[in-house]
């Protein structure tokens, strides 16, 4: 802990040294500023080359500090990407709050290193686990040094924790966070307008008793929908927070939709199987109940053949997927005398 208390002092010292050195290395700061302005929410994506350019090959004290977020797209972890968004909020808020004070704004830059594309730069820091945030202050030489890291128990995935970390280590104030509202102003106004226009019509319909709620087709549709979401394991996905699909461990361009193993599933596989159930069931209902009322004979024939083929394929597919996923092989038990 002793190290942490001295950090602001180190930072001050470095700032004062900067004023001398800043003259010698103004280009790097300018370059960083331009990189920042071209990147989304001001988070600079550092690559193997830029890490060496801005950190390792610059003599200390550097005229700037870097706050680096270590990311890994391949890990495909939702909490990590959420934290990355929070980090972007901090960056954007910092820039917005210090817009007219270039002396403050140009001292700290928010960066990101991705393990999947720039593993060399990532390795320089000796990061063992994610998420991790590191402050490279102007005097830092040994990148493996853990004093610049955010404490493990402080990493809780919120923008507030990042702000606290920055403010405790650098004497800078980030200022209020600017989170984007859930709906933009135009969206809200459009929704309000739609509601306002439709209200009189709705009231008229309710009074007449002609709402969608009085239509049994709507209810049928809703029940099928509830059924669909129940059997496709949506609750499983919500409770366990499963993603719709994951990236393959070996090949990051390949997406994996189906997970082998009985008690887990990915979002997309459940939904696709649930869809197959409903397709077969509703086709059966349609063929036996509604198709007979179609007048055109050839239409009936074509549709019926189509329905049979589709049902057959769907059932085969589901049974195949189930056997593959669970690893069970269903056998028939014949009487032993038949063998």
């Amino acid at each position: 802990m002793a190290d942490h208390t001295t950090l602001p002092h180190r930072f001050f010292l470095s700032i004062s040294l900067l004023s001398i050195l800043a003259v010698s290395q103004p280009d790097l700061t300018k370059e960083l500023v331009s990189l920042r302005s071209s990147s989304e929410s001001g988070v600079i994506r550092l690559t193997d080359d830029t890490v060496s350019k801005f950190i390792t090959s610059v003599s200390t004290p550097r005229p700037y500090s870097l706050i680096i977020f270590f990311n890994s797209i391949d890990l495909n972890s939702n909490p990590l990407q959420e934290f990355r968004r929070e980090f972007a909020f901090v960056s954007a808020s910092f820039i917005a709050n210090n817009n007219n004070r270039s002396d403050v704004a140009n001292k700290v830059f928010f960066c990101e290193i991705d393990e999947s594309s720039d593993s060399e730069a990532f390795g320089l820091f000796g990061i063992q686990f994610l998420p991790q945030i590191c402050l490279v202050d102007p005097l830092m030489e040994n990148l493996q040094d853990k004093t610049g890291r955010m404490e493990e128990e402080d990493v809780d995935g919120t923008a507030e924790s990042v702000v606290e970390f920055i403010e405790s280590r650098t004497n800078l104030t980030v200022g209020p966070l600017h989170r984007p509202p859930l709906l933009s102003k135009t969206q809200i106004s459009v929704i309000v307008a739609l509601i306002a226009i439709s209200t009189p019509f709705l009231i008229k319909k309710v009074l007449k008793g002609e709402t969608v709620l009085h239509n049994s087709r709507v209810w049928l549709f809703c029940t099928v929908l509830v059924y669909f979401f129940s059997v496709s394991g949506t609750m499983h996905n919500i409770i366990k927070g499963m993603p719709m699909f994951v990236r393959d461990h070996e090949d990051s361009n390949k997406l994996v939709f189906f997970y082998k193993g009985e008690n887990f599933q990915l979002g997309a596989e459940g939904l696709s199987v649930g869809l197959l159930y409903n397709v077969v069931g509703l086709l059966l209902a349609y063929v036996t109940n509604a198709l007979v009322r179609v007048r055109s004979v050839s239409g009936q024939r074509v549709f019926m053949m189509l329905a049979m083929v589709v049902s057959l394929l769907a059932v085969k597919k589901v049974v195949y997927l189930n056997s593959w996923k669970t690893g069970y092989e269903i056998q028939t038990y014949w009487p032993s005398s038949w063998h």
Binding site: T223, S230, M235, H236, I239, K240, V273, L282, T288, Q300
Partner: protein, 736 residues
């Protein structure tokens, strides 16, 4: 059969139309049976076969192993049933059990649902009375299959009520072998659910019947069905919420009738009074938040009736409108205030954790680890649905469609039952069981309606003049279909193809169900089976070995500490006192055991001394590769222990968020009591050819601490396959 009203005319007419379709009808003809009698005979014999089928399909485990009780909870039920038959009902009702939850004990009579035990005891006494001298264990083992057979009968009558006799027969056949139900009702799974599903379906059937007829006697029957359900299983909460919801939907959709009023009021009031006789439920039925919906709907019914009466009295519509507005507003206001005051004053208790976790599925994960830790409380993946329902999943949407085509009070009920229970089944794996009857019934409607439509298509080709009578109940729609048919011979082929498809699907269902029952649901889990290298079956009977060892080699007042999963089995088979068991009523006590297991040996020793523990029992699968052992459950012990005692911290046992037992494991993990007890002397053992000593086969790693020394405990017994290990707690050393 006579009690169930006259059968609908169309099936007999159907049989009349095609007697030559059935080979057996020739013999009927020679016997000169009337069509109605033929039909009845067929129906009864099919039902009889289904009844037998449902029973014998559940006997795999008895044939393969022996007649024994399965799993964990059934051992408690067996122990209490034994007590009931030996000591009688009053002793049972007032039983204070000092052998579990030491030193607290447990009031058994007030904390259990006695329905199952009383049922088994009654069957036992009846058999004794008839001079069949069976052992009570056999009765317990076969109770579940017997009630499953009875459920098929109820399913038949229910199906007949909501659709027709054909649907009833199909529903009975489907539910007889549906894996979702078999999973909880094989011979030996002597658990509450075994009788509860029967009671649940019976209650629903009688209620639907009561709503249909408006008769007090059916409503009374449904109240008694509800009483039986309450006495058997905590799942009765589902009934007492679904029925009011159903009534509410009927009220909203304008289907209020005097029949509904009679049925619901009688069922609710009598059912409530009867349910309160069960001590475990008692006044909860009028106080807890889970039961408030039923009471609210009951009051709403009175308001409806009152309004009806006032409308009858006042002939002026305008006056009535004003009156209506005032009454409805004040009723809602009064109800809201009463609920608010009741909750605030603590008179109405809030919802329990389990109920919350159903409504808000993420609740349990965050707040109650003891619920989230149980594997059967996990949410359901699609493959589990497929495993338990198979083709019913394809038929269900079709069944829904048919139900909507012919909306009635009964079909509305079955649709609501199906959808709510399927939602709950999605939240918790074990609730697939509750949804099974509904899924079978709705699918049966789909099968029956489809097959009926198709066969009538086939028949009308042959016997054109009879079409009119064959379509007795059929709507004008289907007769128009018939007239269309006559000009389209193609339809016949299409109908045959579809029929073949449906029968193919059904035969696949039968094959799937038999296989699943035999391979997946018939293992007793107290005796483990594995396949050897040559495909032969290897039996591990270590649990019983350990429990009998305890029974014969330890002092009768010895206290055994183990994780709660094994508590019921130790008391039932080992006859020794346990610290915690599967009735997880005291979280702190369980957390204390969790804390002892996850502390260092000397700290754990103090805890064990304070609980007077003499023996510690752990389950270990490192030698056999048995994966549900205590090491794999260990993180839950840490979580539950840490939930009460903050000194236990989960990250101390993890390395970078990963749970390991090899060299890279955290030091706390390598030296905690559970690790030491499981892996004591394991470092000397070669478990698999070509692997180093101390190779854990359940986790596939070489263990990290091979040199384990015990200070305060000593090994007392390890079973032949090392699955159960028992340690004796040494008495404190003499102080000099």
């Amino acid at each position: 059969m006579a009690a169930n009203g006259s059968p609908k005319p169309e099936p007999m007419a159907a049989k009349k139309a095609s007697p030559d379709l059935l080979n057996s009808s020739f013999s009927f003809k020679s016997l000169k049976l009337k069509t109605k009698q033929q039909e009845l005979l067929l129906r009864v014999s099919i039902l009889g076969l289904v009844y037998v089928l449902a029973f014998i399909a559940r006997l795999f485990s008895v044939l393969r192993y022996e007649s024994m009780i399965h799993e964990f909870d059934p051992y408690f039920n067996y122990r209490t049933t034994l007590f009931l038959t030996e000591k009688g009902f009053y002793e049972f009702w007032n039983w204070f059990d000092s052998e579990s939850w030491y030193p607290l004990g447990r009031i058994i009579g007030g904390t259990l649902y006695p329905g199952l035990m009383v049922t088994a005891a009654l069957i036992y006494w009846t058999l004794r009375f008839l001079r069949f001298f069976v052992h009570i264990r056999e009765v317990c083992v076969l109770t579940a299959p017997f009630f499953a057979s009875n459920t098929t009968l109820v399913a038949y009558f229910f199906g007949k009520e909501i659709w027709d006799t054909g649907a009833g027969l199909v529903a009975a056949a489907l539910i007889a072998i549906c894996p979702g139900y078999i999973s909880r009702s094989v011979a030996g799974s002597y658990d509450n659910e075994a009788v509860a599903i029967f009671a649940l379906l019976l209650t629903f059937y009688l209620f639907v019947k009561a709503v249909k007829t408006g008769s007090l006697s059916w409503a009374l029957g449904s109240a008694f069905g509800y009483f039986y359900m309450v006495s058997a299983w905590g799942g009765y909460v589902f009934i007492i919420n679904l029925v009011p919801l159903y009534v509410l939907v009927l009220l909203i959709t304008g289907r209020y009738s005097m029949r509904l009023y009679v049925a619901y009021n009688c069922m609710y009031i009598l059912g409530m009074l009867l349910a309160m006789q069960i001590r475990f439920v008692g006044f909860q039925h009028v106080q807890s938040g889970e039961h408030m919906a039923a009471m609210g709907v009951f009051l709403l019914m009175q308001v409806f009736y009152f309004l009806d009466w006032v409308k009858h009295q006042l002939n002026d519509t305008k006056l009535f409108q004003t009156f209506l507005r005032i009454t409805v507003t004040s009723a809602i206001l009064v109800g809201g205030i009463a609920l608010g005051v009741g909750t605030a004053s603590g008179y109405i208790s809030p919802w329990t954790g389990r109920f919350y976790s159903l409504l808000d599925p993420t609740y349990a994960k965050d707040h109650i680890p003891i619920i989230a830790s149980v594997s059967e409380h996990q949410p359901t993946a699609w493959s589990s649905f497929m495993f338990d329902y198979h083709i019913l999943l394809f038929l269900f949407p079709a069944g829904l469609y048919f139900c909507f085509k012919r909306l009635s009070d009964a079909t509305i009920f079955i649709v609501m039952y199906g959808l709510t229970s399927l939602y709950f089944a999605g939240v918790m794996v074990r609730l697939i069981l509750v949804a099974t009857p509904a899924v079978c019934l709705i699918s049966a409607i789909a099968v029956s309606a489809t097959v009926k439509n198709l066969t009538s298509l086939l028949r009308t080709k042959q016997k054109v003049p009879q079409t009119g009578s064959a379509k007795g109940v059929g709507s004008s729609k289907s007769s128009s279909k018939v007239t269309l048919d006559q000009s389209q011979p193609f339809h016949k082929n299409g109908a045959i193809a579809l029929l073949v498809g449906v029968f193919y699907l059904l035969s696949r269902y039968a094959i799937h169900c038999t296989w699943v029952t035999s391979e997946a649901y018939s293992s007793p889990s107290i005796v483990l089976a594995a396949r050897g290298a040559h495909g032969n079956r290897i039996i591990f009977d270590d649990y019983r070995e350990a429990y009998y060892w305890l029974r014969q080699n330890t002092p009768t007042d010895a206290k055994v500490m183990s994780w709660w999963d094994y508590g019921y089995q130790i008391t039932a088979m080992g006859n020794r006192t346990v610290i915690v068991d599967n009735n997880t009523w005291n979280n702190t006590h369980i957390a204390t055991v969790g804390r002892a297991m996850s502390s260092y040996e000397d700290e754990a020793y103090d805890i064990m001394r304070s609980l007077d523990v003499n023996y510690v029992l752990v389950v270990f699968g490192g030698v056999t590769g048995y994966s549900s052992d205590d090491i794999n459950k260990f993180l839950w012990m840490v979580r539950i222990g840490g939930g009460v005692y903050p000194v236990i911290k989960e990250p101390d046992y993890l390395v970078n968020g990963e749970f390991r037992v090899d060299k890279g494991a955290s030091p706390k993990m390598l030296n905690c009591l559970m690790y030491k007890l499981c892996y004591y002397r394991f470092g000397e053992l070669v478990t698999e050819y070509g692997k180093p000593t101390g190779y854990d086969r359940a986790r596939g790693v070489e263990i990290g601490n091979k040199d384990i020394k015990l200070e305060h405990l000593e090994e007392a017994y390890t079973t032949s396959n090392w699955i159960v290990r028992i340690y004796r707690v040494k008495p404190p050393t003499n102080r000099l």
